[in-house]
């Protein structure tokens, strides 16, 4: 497949979690393939978009009707960058309990942020915490050893 020369850019206002998330995922998935990202990267980015956009609707906007999520992405052969902004009041990401701590292991929630931090090259919450920026730097599958 011929690699894409122009970056893929998407700016979208998400109003419906399932419908718009699927559209975002479809566009990003194609751009990742066209820019030569590994299967691992495609898996990781799909997972992180799911986690971040669900968080934005559910936790940021508290599932309130009428509240939207702003989505921006730029994907080229070097990296895939994403910005997700909800209409919530924000939160302190450092205040999220460590789900891998012994006492938290059996608590069913709280792993989305951890997965994003594990899979993405950069994850930044912009104060007050309702804007998330994530970058995946293109490269070989890190699990191929």
């Amino acid at each position: 497949m011929q690699l894409r020369s122009e970056p893929y850019i998407q700016d979208k206002t998400l109003t419906d979690l399932r419908v718009d998330l699927q559209k975002v995922q479809d566009g990003v998935a194609l751009a990742l393939i066209q820019n030569g990202y590994t299967d691992f990267a495609q898996f990781a980015i799909r997972l992180c978009l799911e986690e971040s956009i669900v968080n934005a609707f559910r936790h940021g906007n508290r599932s309130e009707p009428g509240k939207v999520v702003q989505f921006h992405c730029k994907i080229d052969g070097e990296s895939a960058g994403f910005e997700i902004q909800d209409e919530g009041v924000g939160f302190d990401p450092e205040g999220v309990p460590d789900p891998t701590a012994e006492e938290n292991l059996e608590i069913p929630s709280g792993r989305g942020l951890m997965l994003m931090r594990a899979y993405m090259s950069e994850v930044v919450h912009v104060a007050p915490g309702n804007t998330l920026r994530m970058v995946y730097k293109n490269g070989p599958d890190p699990t191929d050893t």
Partner: protein
Amino acid sequence: MSNSTSVLNISDEGGVKKITFTQKSIIDEVVIHQIGKDIVAAIDGATQPKVLISFSGVDHLSSAALGVLITCHNRVRVKNGQLYLSDISKTIFEIFKITKLNKMFQIADTSESAMKNFK
């Protein structure tokens, strides 16, 4: 004996409830909610549940799905039952490793090897 829902197949194999998924992605919230309800119903219907959840054919999983699995683990433990996970792809096993849930769950390579472990 087999019981199928829109998202799961549940069969009884020698007293073990074997659960497989009908979808490749366990990522949609509605689907995950239904999966949780169906598995918990299967667990709650047994006195001392023996449950095998096979991820054969599953290639995507979200943190919400992990939450359902943890709920199942907790329910099975309360009833002094046994829960095994099996057939987890390398990519999905990475999620278990990152979250350290590979230490909490009993995980077998295949459903055949998991079946041998039930007491």
